[in-house]
Amino acid sequence: MASMDTARQAPPRTFFLNDPVLRGVFYQIVVGLLVVLFLLWIINNTAINLQAQNKTSGFDFLWKTSGFDISFSLFHWDRTSYYWEAFLVGLTNTLLVAVIGIVLATLLGFTLGIARLSSNFIIARLATVYIELIRNIPLLLQLFFWYFAVLKAMPAVRNSLEFPFDIFINQRGMFLPRPLPDEQFVFVVVAFFLTIAVAIGLRIWARRRLDETGHRFPVLLVSLALLVAIPGLVWIVSGADVPFDPPVLQRFNFAGGVQLPPEFVALAFGLVIYTAAFIAETVRAGILAVSHGQTEAAQSLGLKESDRLRLVIVPQAMRVIVPPLTSQYLNLTKNSSLGAAIGYPELVNVFAGTSLNQTGRAIEIIAMTMAVYLTFSLLTSLIMNWYNARVALVER
């Protein structure tokens, strides 16, 4: 042992220029320096060019009055709002469509992915046709199709489609009554969240009971029943009242209520339809990656079809599904920037579009916009990596 160590410690002395370690360090330093120099050169050049063009620069514009209108925003906006508020409106609108898109695309994608593997010939073929059709048409074209096709198909304001509960649909979007809960309604909300806590506790208890006794408890059904019953009871007892502010037809359009512009509907719809096709393929791949022996083993244990999927196949498939699923979520978030093309006021439209044009601060605004998408993507990755670590195979 000792003799081997001494043999390693004493390599033949060479001229220092021929020392591989020293050379390695030297080249790394050179490459590092070149990268730094290159960046400095770019920054310097940009500054010089901006000055040569007499362009004003800096982030002071964020505190200037914007002077333009944004049609759809989650909080108050008018023409006297500042540019940083425009940034926030764009940000929240992007987040809104991304979150809704991710939830719906996941649901639709999993359904389609499983449908494609169905033993029912028609269901499997239909899912295949859907996936192949949607995956192979560029998203921007699909958005144009949904936006303009949906617009054309909808009736004019005066001939709005009327649905029960004061819901209207026309070319200007979808109009729903806005609920105006009174103060008593707080109790109902509290009861709702308490019931969720109870449901989680129930699940943990059922798990433990299953481990100990092997008896199963219908957690989902009981939880759902509780979720309806307990807040409902509280609602009746507390006497909370929820009047509605219905949309009312005016000279040009409906006023009041909740308004969903067609741009939003078209973008959310397009993103969900498109991304779901990719998620479906991911899900299918994940399920197929679980060896058929697992299915047979589950069958021989006498598990029901639904239990086999839920308890044996899907948990194992998730390990394969989650990493590519993360990419799809990132894609959906980034693709929401195409909403600018159909007039949905998200970040690229409001900030990198209108604000950039009115202020001319191209570099600042594009940098901010890129930083936002980078942050979104890194956050999504972080959350999904955490989830992935949880579902990953635990090797002992």
Binding site: N45, I48, G67, L151, F252, G343, N349, N357
Partner: protein
């Protein structure tokens, strides 16, 4: 982004070295670059009839295209030496700053912030315009003051966006905007009924209406809510090129004022009027000091005609767009188009 920066940096580097090499003979880096490459790169709209739009044979035509052609005629004695870059409102200033185009001739409103903060210079006012509103006839709207609650289709990155917000706020009216990047989509959204109102410069409204399947179904409201002086734009910091651009515009006006037309320009060479002699380069030499030839203005008029001819050809009452001269008449005819003397 990085790519664009690199391009800019690279272009600037080439520009600088090129200037250094031939600085003794001329005054403008852009003019030298244009002469070297053999054409003027001109930024235009994606297609606003009368101003800049491809015709049936796919040739760009229009009042603003004529300006680009005038530049080419003045520099090369050949109006065809222009290449066109269709740009959206959003892209236009960046394209000019980045050097993708030499001149922007694209229904661009001259405003103080643009003139002073974007690193660009407005050459002059090719067309005095104002923002108007177009609505469907069946809606029975008589005035813009009836528009409270209406949905407006607007092109993104324009003064239109700001004017509309100002106007509705000042008149305490509610409104909704649908802001789209491409004018074609704005127009389609209006036609499909997404909006009650299509608002932009009133000349462009007239132009767009001429494209509709049934132009008579749409009315342009009488109110004009803003001043929209539209003109060509060049990069700031190249005074030589600015001079060429500005005096090309003035030459078009001066020719109209002196009665020099495409048809009579050759006869006018023999005119006794000293002003005409100066314009056409018969007496004195005003072209060489700005890096052109002595007969630069003659070339413009020979190939393009004067401002009136260009106007009548593209947007005048005889065209589908049918705009009267109005403010765009010469000063002596009751308008405000006015060229400083060429002398």
């Amino acid at each position: 982004m990085i790519n664009k920066l690199l391009t800019v940096a690279f272009a600037a580097g080439i520009g600088l070295s090129a200037t250094a090499a031939i600085a003794q003979t001329t005054t403008s880096a852009t003019l030298d670059a244009v002469k070297a490459k053999g054409y003027v790169q001109c930024g235009v709209t994606g297609g606003v009839p009368g101003f800049s739009a491809p015709d049936a044979n796919n040739n760009w035509t229009g009042l603003e295209v004529d300006y680009c052609r005038s530049l080419a005629a003045a520099i090369f004695n050949d109006p065809a030496k222009v290449r066109y870059t269709p740009l959206t409102s959003q892209e236009r200033f960046t394209a000019l700053s980045a050097g993708e185009i030499d001149v922007l001739s694209r229904t661009t409103t001259w405003t103080m912030s643009r003139d002073t903060q974007l690193g660009i210079k407005f050459v002059g006012t090719m067309f005095y315009d104002g923002q108007g509103f177009m609505v469907r006839k069946e809606d029975n709207i008589a005035s813009t003051l009836d528009l409270s609650g209406a949905a407006l289709c607007i092109e993104s990155g324009t003064t239109t966006e700001l004017n509309a917000a100002d106007y509705f706020a000042a008149n305490k009216m509610e409104f909704n905007t649908v802001v789209l990047v491409d004018e074609e989509e704005v127009e389609k959204a209006y036609e499909d009924g997404r909006c009650d109102v299509y608002t932009t410069d009133s000349s462009a409204l007239a132009a767009e209406r001429s494209k509709f399947a049934n132009p008579a179904d749409h009315v342009i409201l009488p109110e004009i809510i803003s001043k929209e002086p539209l003109g060509p734009v060049v990069r700031q910091g190249d005074d030589g090129w600015f001079n060429v651009a500005r005096w090309t515009y003035f030459a078009l006006l001066e020719a109209e004022e002196l009665g020099v037309t495409q048809a009579n320009v050759d006869d006018m060479l023999a005119s006794d009027n000293p002003a005409i002699k100066r314009l056409l380069g018969v007496e004195g030499d005003f072209g060489t000091p700005i890096g052109l030839t002595k007969d630069w203005a003659y070339q413009i008029i020979k190939h393009i005609g004067n401002y009136a001819e260009s106007y009548e050809r593209h947007v005048g009452p005889a065209t589908a767009i049918g705009l009267a001269r109005g403010l765009n008449a010469l000063w002596r005819d009751g308008g405000i188009q006015y060229s400083p003397p060429i002398r």
